[in-house]
Each structure stands twice: as C-alpha cells, then as structure tokens.
C-alpha cells in the first residue's frame, strides 16, 4: 500500500507526506514553482543564481540559517538544491530523528534568506558564471538545446543557467524581487518522505511554516514557439560534434508518458541492444556515445535522440536516425522489444521505491503538474500498456511537424538540413 497524505496550511502552502513504515531515514524538501521557463531574456539565469544564494552557508545576514545548517550537517544530514526549467528545490536527507531540525532549516531558507551581503553576492555570481561557462563549453547542453529547438528560446526552451551577461549584471534588488513574487506559500510545496509520524510531522510544519506570509504570486502564462525548429552552433576547431533529433511529446501528467519512455528505451537506450546503438555504433562504427532522453514538463514534453560523432559523420548519423524513425513508424516495435523495455522501466521504478531522494524528487515533479501520483501506480500503468498503445503514440509523435534538430560542433549545417526528413 502506498501511504500518502496531502494537506494545505492556512497560508496556502501545500504539504505532501509519504510515510514509509519501518524506515529510519527521512528526506524532506521544498519545491518552489520558479525556474527558467518563468524567465525572459533579461533575467534568464537568475532563478538558478538565487538558488545558489539561498543555500549558501556563508550568508551572515541570516545567522539562524547558518546555525541550523551547521547543526544538521553535524548530524550527518546531506543537503542539496536544484533548479530546473519549472522549479527551484531545496532538500535534506538524513536520519528520521533529524526531521524537526531539517523542516526548521527549510523554513529559514525560504522565509529568511532574502538578504545577501554584496561580497557574498559577487562571489556567488563568479561561481555561477564558472558553472555557466563550463556548461556552455560542453556537449552536456545538447538536451536543453533540443528543447530549445523544439519549443523556442522561450518558456521551457529557456536554458537553466541562463545568459552570461544577465548573471554578470545581476543585482541584489532583482534577487529580492524574485523572492517576494515567487517564494510564496501558495507557489510552493513541502514534501516529506520516510519513517515519519504524520501528526508529529504536521506539528513541525505548522510550527515553522504557519507564519510564512501569504503574499500574492506573480502571474505566468506559458508560451512556446508555434512550430519546432533548429539549434546549431558551428564552430571551427571542434574535435567532434554532437547532434540531437527531438520530437515534441506529451506532458508529464499525460497517460501516454509511459509509451514515450518505452519508445525512448527501444530506440535509443545506451545499452547495446537499442536500435540506434546497433545501427550507428555496432554496425557502422560512427559513434561511441549514442543515447536517448525524455524530459516531461507541466504542459509538454521532449523525446530526444543524441549521438557524439566525428565532424564528418554528422550527416550520415542523422540519416541513419531518420531511417530508423521511418522504420518504426512503418513497422512499429516488436512485442519482445516492448516487453523488455517495460521490464527495464519497471525495474528502474522499483529501485526508486527504495531510494528516498528519488521518491522525494518524484513527488516534487508531481507537485508541478498539480496531481498526485505514486510509484506503484506508475508500475501498474506500465504493466497495462499494450503493443497497440505504443504504436499509436509512435504515429502521433514521429511526424516532421513535431521534429526539431540541435547540433554543436564543426560541420556543414546546410548539408544536414535536407537529411531531416522521415522517409
């Protein structure tokens, strides 16, 4: 039985609690609906910079937070934070006996960390600039570039680390504006999982979060480009290139999400059995690194296939990918491929059941879609998928009007464009 409880405080804060019997550990975190999709060109990257500032243990303007973070760390609690396109999160994992203090620390982060000294601010800007420069110098950006090609440089197409110039020119006042307009109870979800007692936990939550001021949250209307496109960064001297072909797909809460995950596994899983790995790496030796990925958001999703290859192989790899898309569109996947992919996904989800942080992040992701899911329900949905469900999803997704292309390296983009055709 998946035991889960969802309540709201009077100030609008949503609290999700998931009790895992006999567990001696806990994980808790706060998810704020503020990410790069809420940003414009002028402030792209500031949600991420703010996350760095909020979790910075050197913030002498909030001695209470410094004391608390020091105490929980001394007890072996691990803490971390993350910014995505849709959320900023702060979370702790440790022994269940530390829950009280972890909840207090979380409240101190979001309720009191709104003042930063100029020294701390400038120093953290340098750190974030280093992170951004490193990101933009690597092929790791290809997944986000795929979303950018598919949805535009707007909404979920916005890059999380943002603009170098924006970060350089950021000021403390802007940070405070983001906190005031987005770090509000109604825009946040507190999630607690592990060996917890619901009543005691609610008492802790009330004690530390009931005073969080119920302010208005900024409005937001999600927009994307009307049609998918291309992202390319051709620079001479790159030793190899990365390419990605992506397709617009369903949102996180869509029933077809599991079908998309199956398609992703069969076509591009980095294990040696997937079709693209077979065709690109095993048969032709064109690339070492071949893979696929899915990114699901509140209102839409991305299915992408990537390869890192020699500069002069980009066109051939693209053509092989397009041939494989054509094949599955016409002949579908075999029952055995679907069965294997379902088993791989089921195993992955069962492993997540034993991982507190994975459970926490799963519920954090659910909070964005405004729905509650359970990992058990996910496994049930997976088992119920029939071959024809997968084929219907293939027919819906693998059309050129849904397709985008992203690539970085030293290659001839003009030569590749004509290859971007399914069949």
């Amino acid at each position: 039985m998946y035991d889960i409880l969802s309540v709201y405080l009077e100030n609008g804060l949503k609290v999700i609690m998931h009790r895992i019997p006999h567990s001696r550990t806990m994980a808790c975190g706060l998810w704020v609906k503020q990410g790069s999709k809420h940003e414009q060109d002028s402030d792209n990257g500031l949600s991420h910079l703010l996350e760095h500032l909020m979790i910075n243990i050197d913030n002498r303007n909030n001695p209470r937070f410094q004391k608390l973070i020091n105490e929980v760390s001394s007890e072996g609690v691990a803490y971390n934070a993350g910014t995505t396109k849709e959320t900023t999160s702060y979370y702790f994992t440790g022994l269940a006996s530390n829950l009280n203090k972890c909840i207090e620390t979380l409240s101190s982060i979001v309720m009191n960390n709104n003042s930063f000294s100029p020294d701390l601010f400038e120093n953290e800007k340098k750190v974030v600039l280093q992170e951004a420069t490193s990101y933009y110098s690597s092929f790791n950006q290809i997944k986000e570039r795929t979303s950018q090609a598919l949805w535009g440089d707007i909404g979920i197409g916005k890059i999380i680390v943002g603009g170098i110039g924006v970060i350089k020119n950021a000021n403390i006042e802007t940070m405070d504006q983001i906190v005031q307009s987005t770090y509000t109870p109604e825009n946040s979800t507190l999630i607690i999982v592990g060996g917890i007692d619901y009543e005691k936990t609610m008492n802790y939550v009330n004690e530390y979060f009931a005073d969080w001021e119920d302010r208005d949250t900024r409005g937001y209307k999600e927009t994307v480009d009307s049609e998918p496109g291309i992202y390319f960064n051709c620079s001479e001297g790159s030793s190899n290139s990365v390419l990605s072909i992506g397709f617009r797909s369903a949102a996180y809460s869509d029933k077809g999400r599991a079908n998309i995950e199956i398609i992703s596994k069969v076509l591009g899983d980095s294990t040696l059995e997937s079709r693209l790995v077979q065709e690109i790496r095993m048969k032709r030796g064109l690339a070492y690194n071949v893979g696929s990925f899915t990114s699901f958001y509140e209102n839409r999703g991305t299915l992408g296939f990537t390869a890192v290859c020699a500069n002069d192989s980009v066109n051939e790899v693209t053509q092989v990918m397009m041939e494989e898309f054509y094949k599955i569109k016409n002949s579908g996947l075999t029952s055995d491929e679907i069965r294997r992919a379902k088993k791989v996904l089921e195993t992955k989800k069962l492993l997540e059941l034993d991982n507190l942080v994975a459970q926490l992040k799963f519920l954090g992701k659910c909070s964005i879609s405004g729905q509650l899911f359970s990992l058990e329900q996910e496994i049930r949905d997976l088992k119920r998928i029939k071959d024809e469900n997968v084929q219907n999803t293939i027919n819906d997704i693998f059309i050129e009007e849904n397709m985008g292309f992203a690539s970085i390296g030293d290659y001839d983009i003009d030569g590749i464009i004509p290859s971007l055709k399914i069949g």
Binding site: E227, G229, F405
Partner: protein, 186 residues
Amino acid sequence: MADIPCIQNLAMINENLKDDILKGKAMDILLLLLSGSKTVKEISKELDLPSFSIQLYIKRLIESQLIKVTEVKVVEGKVEKTYELASTDVEILNYLQENSKGKEETNIELSAQHFSTMTRNIIRNIDEFKHKPHKIKAYFIKSDEESVNEFKKELDALFEKYQEMEDVDASETYGFISVLAPYKLK
C-alpha cells in the same frame, strides 16, 4: 576599369552572406519579404522549401541585420513571429511588384528570380544582345558619408526616371540593378 570582374568581386564583401546569396535561398527570402512581412510558415509555403531551411536562412539574415522580427503574435500559448526587411532602402523589386497585374503573377516573379541570378542573366544577355542598350559599371572610391548621401539622392532620382519609362505594352524587358554600399569601413 574591368567591369565584369568587379561585379564578381562584389560577392566577396560578406563571406557569410555571399554563400546565401549565391545559393539563392537567402535572396529568395529577401525578395519575398519585399512584398510584405511574412511568417516562416508562409515563406516555407510560398518558396516550397522545408521549414528548417527557411529557419536556417532567417537566422543568418537576422544576424546580418538584413531582416528583423516585426510582430510577435501569441495564439493559444504559441508564439508566431513575423519577419520583414530591416531597411526600407532595399527596393530591388518594388517596382516589378507594384506593376504586376495580379498577385499570382507577382509571386511567380518574386519566387522564380533572385538577385544573383538576375545579375548573371543580365550580364549574359549583354553578349547575346550586343546591339541593345546596356551598361555595366562598378567603381570603388574613398569618400565621406555626407557626399555619398548626396549621390544617393541623385541615384534615387535616376531610378524614378527609369521607372517612369515603363511601358507595360512594350515587348522588351530591361533591368537596372544598382548597389551602393560601404565596401570597407576601416
């Protein structure tokens, strides 16, 4: 002065743009935008080129500041951008467009031809029709902006005079192409 080699050399002004113009696609887009602002979808349909190709050239034309986004419409959460020429001083085919008898004919004219092709065709026709009036001139001078602006006014007047000669019932078509722009600014 060696006329034809000079015109060939003109293509070397902007390496990025040279490629586009010579391949014709970027110029096709520019010419299409002379008839008004358009979306990628509209350009793709009218030129019968894949959307990806259009987006590639649009990106380059924007980077070269030859075109710009003129309107951003949001319909059901989806953004549609409309593009137009960045400068109203591009008038290559305005006259052809204004004098075309029907819209359909205009589209055929604009999509079937592009600047470089027209230039090459005119040069080839000089050999074929040596007895007909023709002139090719290219000259590179060092000068100041004010003087060149003065000259530009005279060039505009000359173009107007040329346009006034139009006789839609005449059997021969003549072309007058002029390019006046900075060659080297340093």
